[in-house]
Amino acid sequence: MKPGNGLLAKRSDLMSKVSLFIPCAVDAVLVSVGESTVRLLARLGFDLQYHEEQTCCGQPVITAGHLDLARDAACRFISIFEEDEVVVSPSGSCVSTIRHDYPRLFEDEPEWQRRAVELGQRVYELSEFLVDVAHIEDVNAHFSGKLAYHKSCHLLRALGIDHQPQTLLKNVHGAELVPMQDDHVCCGFGGQFSIKYPYISEAIVGDKVKNFLASEADLLVLSDPGCLLNIRGYLHRNHPGRQVKHLAEVLAESV
């Protein structure tokens, strides 16, 4: 698809407004991912909105089994975002929490469940939004070299997002997307798992990085803050100089 006039003209007024859901890990640690998301979407002409009262979606609390504690946070999240037409987040994992976990928190409260389901249908992961909703496949990004793509678990298996990020990467000017062994296998993060079972986590992320190095790509790309922290931290310790970046960071670099 041609960038510029064509793609901007295709978007309806409705869709040009985008509300940002910036996960806590991005807000506090991976700020450049949030910044890149903003720069990318603004460059594409989207009218961005950011609710400053947002905090965390509650995923760590839900996966640890404290559903009762997550319920109030979910109500709050829904109240903040439910007026928005489109919510976009640079995290497949957090989007999956809203779309799949929230409705299950309200098994006994049909009204809240309805609100959760309706919001879940309008919360998109970044690449999913660009390709499926805005129909943008080339964002005029540039990178000189080979890229490998890690298919984050929640993105791939919870949300079924696979071709979207790869399409965007294939269209990065100057870049070549190369295959990587076991690209669909978990990186060993798993939130609390990485701290509670560090030796298992180490074995899994070690294999992931081994496959990345064997792919001979210059850069590993993924679209989930959790995997990014895990793999980046492992690379920094064991293979200094080797790079992993979030999809938004790659796409924000324009020609």
Binding site: G4, A28, V31, R43, G188, Y197, G233, R237, N238, V255
Partner: protein, 501 residues
């Protein structure tokens, strides 16, 4: 090494350090995943395969929804075929029932086909001790594991982690095999050894892959021919099955068979599929004089009462989830401390053993979903494991789950309060930043004592920027974004040209 689920952490730490085994198992899993994926293409493209799996899931749903009726129908028709059906509430009762049959038929030697349920109830150990019989496993992998006295590594490939040298060593030590690393010579030696025992067996014991309700038949699936032998040569055949193994009719059973073999060994069908319709009849030359089916509950009907845990009974034991699991492939079977390792164990062990003992099983999971993405029976592994975590948090009387301690809960309470209150959230970020960044060197934190130390075993953590995204947004990003977007919308061509350089 004391292999119990309670010792998961310590055993896993030992096992994960066996790098050669780890790499070998990951490689073998890659081969089997490829074979299974290829075999599944018989159904057509990706969506046709999804449909095939969905049909399998629907068959399992129907079986579970009508479980009591189907089991009764099976019993009636099995009786009509001359098969006696016995019911066991738990492992102890099942073992006693089989012991009763051993005594009744004056059995000295037992030959066995590979059966997970017999392992689950600890039948071999019980019979050798309590009934004084000799038992020989007929499945080659299971036989090797039996000799070595370890847990099966995988439910379908019990010795798949062992090198040919290790296998040759075990056989040399236990059954006097002249040492050889030639696979055909090994198989040939074991075959001769086992056939001698099998010829003398008075009783054959097997599991059941599917019990077909409409005809009272048993379906058994294998590649080595040992089950065919065990079910036809000895005087008595005893088949053990857990309550969920029943299937309405042959049409359903054959669809599940196709999914089972394709996801198990990547075969369109196994070398042998036996359908047994009762003991030897007057005009027949083969087959046992007497045939029994022992239907075992062992905690399953309690899980069956719970709408979500009922799902744990869907499993058809193909073992595909195991070769998808990044954790199981790195630590092997031993840490799970029981006969069902990997995702199957994570789902089944807690309802049979209890939530406290098996805590590490449902917590040592990244929730990657690899298991459920390939499951041919529609199991929602992640929902079940999250449910166990929730039951553990709240405490659960049915499955022996003690509520988690206040200390552990309080961390999540603080987190939840921070999610509710932006002021608290911001304060929390500030404290975390000060705490982390004071240890930072060149932009990364490389170690830290206390509960977070696990992270730093193999990786660093980036220091937290002085400004959060939210502050950056307020200070400059919001204004920048507005101007950039305005330019892009007002002058799309210029913007595009500009971007195209």
């Amino acid at each position: 090494m004391d292999l119990r689920p309670e010792n998961f952490q310590s055993v896993a730490e030992i096992e994960v350090a066996k790098v050669a085994q780890r790499d070998f198992v990951v490689m073998v899993a890659g081969v089997f995943n490829y074979l299974c994926d290829t075999a599944m293409t018989a159904y057509g493209d990706g969506s046709a395969q999804d449909e095939a799996r969905a049909a399998g899931a629907q068959i399992r749903t129907n079986s579970l929804n009508n479980l009591a009726e189907l089991l009764q129908e099976f019993e009636t028709n099995a009786n009509r075929n001359g098969i006696q059906v016995l019911w066991a509430a738990d492992a102890e009762e099942a073992c006693q029932l089989v012991k009763g049959l051993v005594e009744k038929h004056q059995v000295k030697t037992i030959s066995k086909g590979k059966s997970m349920i017999s392992e689950e109830i600890g039948l071999n150990h019980f019979l050798e001790k309590e009934a004084g019989v000799k038992i020989y496993e007929g499945d080659l992998g299971e036989f090797i594991v039996q000799l070595r006295g370890t847990l099966p590594f995988h439910i379908v490939g019990p010795a798949i982690n062992m090198t040919v040298q290790e296998i040759a060593g075990v056989l040399q030590q236990h059954i006097d095999m002249p040492y050889t690393e030639v696979a055909t010579e090994i198989v040939s030696y074991v075959r001769t050894y086992l056939r001698d025992k099998f010829e003398r067996a008075d009783m054959g014991i097997t599991g059941v892959n599917q019990a077909i309700a409409s005809t009272g038949s048993l379906m058994l699936v294998e590649n080595e021919g040992n089950i065919r032998w065990v079910t036809s040569a000895p005087r008595v055949h005893v088949a053990l099955m857990s309550i969920e193994k029943v299937c309405a009719n042959f049409a359903d059973a054959f669809h599940l068979l196709g999914l089972l073999t394709r996801n198990c060994t990547g075969q369109a069908i196994t070398s042998y599929v036996s359908v047994l319709n009762g003991p030897r009849r007057a005009e027949e030359v083969d087959g046992p004089e007497a045939m029994y089916v022992v239907i075992i509950d062992n905690g399953r009907s309690i899980a069956y009462q719970d709408p979500l845990l009922k799902d744990a009974l869907r499993c058809i034991r193909c073992g595909r989830c195991g070769i998808q699991c990044p954790i199981y492939l790195r630590i092997g079977a031993n840490p799970y401390g029981w006969i069902y390792p990997g995702p199957i164990g994570n789902v089944i062990a807690p309802v049979i053993m209890d939530l406290d003992r098996t805590r590490d099983l449902y917590e040592a999971c990244t929730l990657c979903g690899g298991c459920q993405s390939v499951c041919p029976s529609g199991m929602s592994h992640l929902d079940i494991m999250t449910h166990y975590r929730q039951m553990k948090v709240k405490g659960d009387d049915r499955f022996g789950g003690t509520r988690i301690c206040i200390k552990e809960r309080s961390g999540f309470k603080i987190l939840a309060r921070g999610m509710q209150n932006p002021g608290l959230y911001k304060a929390g970020v500030k404290i975390a930043r000060r705490f982390l960044n004071q240890r930072s060197q060149d932009g990364y934190i490389t170690q830290m004592p206390g509960p977070m130390s696990g992270w730093f075993r193999c990786r660093d953590f980036p220091e937290m920027p002085e400004k959060t995204f939210r502050q950056r947004w307020q200070d400059e990003l919001q204004e920048e974004a507005r101007q950039t977007a305005d330019r892009a919308v007002a002058h799309p061509e210029a913007a595009a040209q500009n971007e195209e350089g």
